[in-house]
């Protein structure tokens, strides 16, 4: 039984989140900054009447910032009661991933990703990283 996943890109690397967790995907035209929040919180956006905090994954993963472009997307994910947007470079694909393709992350990747990567999958020669949404939108900061 393959599960559908939304695939997005951050700084050339491909990541995946279960499609069931994704509420919607929107283009990004800027967020309202909230003073006093951690650097990886891009701010607030209003999507279909709902106000959603946005986590900038580049900032979260310690990557250099870029200006938003036409491809820039906010992937809105649901985690329990929380609804949070993930700011990514692009998000275009939905891929079916068979469970047997999913592996624990190689040690070096796990270490570098400070626990944000839960597992990896090889799909048709591509390497997809599964992010740990709970950690990514959690309060603990990158060590």
């Amino acid at each position: 039984m393959s599960a559908l996943h939304v695939v997005f890109k951050v700084a050339g690397t491909e990541y995946a989140v279960p499609a069931a967790d994704v509420v919607q995907m929107e283009s990004f035209t800027g967020a309202t900054p909230v003073p006093g929040t951690p650097a990886h919180v891009a701010g607030l956006v209003q999507i279909r009447g709902r106000v959603v905090p946005v986590v900038d994954l580049r900032a979260r993963f310690g990557l250099p910032a870029v200006e938003p472009v036409l491809d820039t997307r906010v992937v809105v994910v649901k985690q329990g009661d929380r609804v949070v947007g993930l700011l990514v470079d692009s998000a275009r694909e939905v891929v079916a991933i068979p469970p047997e393709a999913v592996r624990p992350p190689p040690e070096i990747v796990a270490e570098q990703a400070s626990g944000f990567v839960r597992s990896v999958a090889q799909v048709g020669g591509r390497l997809l990283l599964f992010i740990d949404c709970e950690r990514v939108i959690g309060e603990e900061t990158l060590q």
Binding site: G30, T32, P35, G36, T37, L44, Q46, I137
Partner: protein, 678 residues
């Protein structure tokens, strides 16, 4: 009855039962208070009986047997009390309170869709023995009542007691006849209007319908005899009752020897008056509405307000393109007025009176008295203030907490009080008034031992606070308790931090007065509504913010040359200047510096002054952008919960705009105070 409708009945039952229980509690307390003074309270006992009777009937309809059983037991006790002239023993009052509580628990279980527990056997036994043991029938002493036999036969002992009690208080018991007729009905005079008018000048004990021979004066062959207790003159009563001359009789005026033996008639044959009472209640013009419907109306109004803001923006954009928008502007202005009126109406619908908000407190204090063994004299002055249901629901736990603390920690045990030369009974005063058109002030005040500053400081591991404001900051540190042992009523003494958080979340303020001589007063200032408020929009850095008008004391022009710059603390990015305002030195901070915003080109020329703990604080901003009504949406996600941000709003551009809480922000900046930073 068809079972299909049961669900619908249940929701109706829940609403009704809630209200009936509330009224029952109030009446029980009234009976309790009267009993302590040795007085009977026939009226309250009868009202209690009616409440329980209705609960029983409704519960039977929705087939909730445990509630039926408890209500039935309570009803039996009340019937006996009514026969005994409206007197209840302390033990009976306690059991009735326990009964009301047991019903309440079962109603709650029903509301939550849980199984309704069986009635406590001990309670049923106690009620049964109270009812069957019969009341200690008091010697029927009192005033002779001069009544026609036909009417006298219809009076219950408690009604007689009520008439006598009025006379004993120096009033007169009167009998006045009202004869209905088509002609009078055409003039708008009916038994209903007469009841209303008479009730304004007298206490109606009973209205008895009497059949009389048909005549020109009484074409329907029916008249009503009203039995009253009053201090008003005859003419006032005759006029209120639209009585014919000579239609007014004195039943009793001065205390006399012995009264007639009470008839065995109880409440059962009271059906007519009972129905009339119910009809009256319905005619009062009150509609019960579930809160969700009000919330829904509010939600729709909120959407309308956002659309309105968008409309205004579009018109401004058109005007900027050189389009003639005079007509549109006019329509927009009218639309704005209409939306405003609508908003006022809807907000009004959501308002509950402070009186209602505070009404459960006597019951709570009674429980605390019992638990602590400290007698408390509670006085409540609720005034005429009103507040939004949502605010009321959020602030109530804070008030309850302050009341608990006052009885538990503030007020001393009677012996200790007497030793200090105070009356043994502790005093607890709760007052409430509208401080302005947007703010309500609630004060909880006790005459107890006050707060031991040294003990608080020791517990917190800090120096002894010099001011009340500093003391408040200490007692609101999460988890701090000045009591060594946990007490049953206040738990572990935690909770002042919660009180503070509740007030702050509402955009309100918590104040403390604790003079060294003893006595403690907590003051809560809260906005009357939170969802839709008037706000100032202003620009700061490249960003637009809004702040509720209710939070801002004044908007000042800032002359940078006149603001005195103090020495800067090394670790701070922002530095406070001092403004002179009417002889008061006001610390002034640039908001863009506080928020670390990209600094705008021009100098900050306006300052918003707020006042916290009586201390003024000014925030300099770039420019004011006018006042408008906004819909505040709270920010719940932990990622974006920060001090100084109360929520977000949509000003019509489809983007979130931050609603600032400058009060909390000034608190966080106001020095080394222990402020939550989350």
């Amino acid at each position: 009855m068809s079972r299909v409708d049961l669900r619908e009945f249940v929701s109706g039952f829940l609403v009704e039962a809630d209200e009936l229980l509330r009224s029952a509690s109030a009446n029980l307390l009234a009976v309790d208070a009267a009993a302590k003074k040795g007085e009977a309270s026939p009226r309250a006992v009868r009202e209690l009986f009616r409440s329980l009777h209705t609960i029983k009937g409704l519960a039977a309809m929705v087939e909730v047997e445990p509630i039926v059983a408890i209500a039935h037991g309570m009803e039996a006790v009340l019937r006996a009390a009514d026969r005994g002239g409206g007197r209840l023993s302390g033990a009976a009052i306690d059991e009735l309170l326990a009964g009301a509580k047991a019903i309440e628990q079962r109603v709650r279980a029903l509301a939550e869709g849980k199984a309704v527990p069986a009635p406590p056997a001990r309670l049923l036994d106690a009620l049964l023995s109270l009812a069957s043991g019969g009341p200690a029938r008091l010697p029927a002493k009192g005033t002779e009542l001069d009544l026609p036999a036909a009417i006298d036969a219809k009076l219950t002992p408690s009604e007689r007691e009520q008439l006598r009690a009025g006379v004993a208080k120096g009033m007169r018991a009167l009998r006045v006849d009202f004869v209905p007729s088509p002609a009078r009905a055409a003039e708008g005079v009916t038994i209903t209007t007469v009841r209303e008018q008479v009730a304004a000048v007298a206490e109606i004990v009973k209205v008895v319908p009497v059949s009389s021979p048909r005549s020109d004066e009484a074409p329907s062959g029916l008249k009503f005899t009203l039995l009253l207790v009053t201090a008003s003159p005859d003419e006032a009563i005759a006029e209120a009752a639209s009585a014919a001359p000579g239609g007014l009789f004195v039943i009793a005026e001065a205390p006399a020897a012995e009264a007639a033996a009470p008839s065995p008639d109880g409440l059962e044959d009271d059906a007519w008056t009972e129905e009339a009472g119910a009809a009256e209640a319905r005619g009062g013009g009150v509609v019960r509405v579930p809160v969700e419907r009000l919330d829904d109306a509010m939600e729709k109004l909120s959407a309308l307000i956002v659309t309105r803001s968008r409309l205004a923006r579009s018109i401004a954009a058109l005007a900027a393109q050189g389009v003639d928008v005079r007509d549109l502007r006019q329509i927009e202005a009218e639309h704005r007025r209409q939306v405003r009126d609508l908003r006022t109406s809807i907000l009004q619908l959501r308002m509950v009176s402070a009186k209602e908000l505070l009404s459960p407190l006597p019951l709570i204090v009674r429980g605390l008295e019992a638990a602590t063994g400290k007698p408390v004299k509670l006085s409540i002055d609720a005034g005429r203030g009103e507040l939004d249901k949502a605010v009321a629901d959020r602030i109530f736990p804070a008030i309850v907490h302050l009341v608990r603390n006052a009885v538990d920690h503030g007020i001393e045990p009677p012996a200790e009080r007497v030793a200090k030369g105070k009356p043994p009974e502790g005093r607890l005063t709760i007052t409430c008034f509208e401080r302005s058109s947007t703010q309500l002030e609630l004060r909880v005040s006790d005459d107890g031992a006050g707060i031991d500053r040294e003990a608080v400081a020791r517990r917190a591991g800090r120096e002894v606070p010099a001011t009340d404001a500093a003391l408040l900051d200490l007692v609101t540190i999460p988890g701090l308790s000045t009591r060594e042992e946990a007490t049953r009523t206040s738990g572990r003494g935690v909770g002042m931090d919660v009180v503070k958080r509740i007030t702050q979340d509402l955009g309100g303020e918590l104040l403390l007065e604790a003079p060294p001589g003893g006595g403690t007063t907590f003051t809560l200032r809260v906005p009357l509504t939170v969802t839709i408020v008037d706000a100032f929009a202003f620009g700061c850095g490249a960003q637009v913010f809004v702040v509720p008008v209710s939070m801002v004391e004044e908007i000042l022009e800032v002359d940078p040359a006149k603001a005195a710059q103090g020495p800067a603390r090394r670790e701070r990015t922002h530095r406070a200047a001092l403004l002179q305002r009417r002889g008061e030195a006001v610390p002034l901070l640039r908001l863009d510096e506080v928020f670390a915003l990209p600094r705008s080109a021009g100098a900050a020329l306006k300052a918003l002054v707020v006042r916290r703990n009586g201390e003024p604080f000014a925030f300099a901003v770039d420019r004011m952008m006018g006042q408008q009504e906004i819909v505040v949406r709270p920010l719940q996600d932990p990622l974006v919960k920060t001090t100084g941000v109360a929520g977000v709003t949509d000003l019509g551009d489809g983007k979130p705009t931050l609603v600032l809480d400058l009060l909390s922000l000034s608190g966080a900046l106001g020095g080394k105070r222990p402020e939550a930073t989350a």
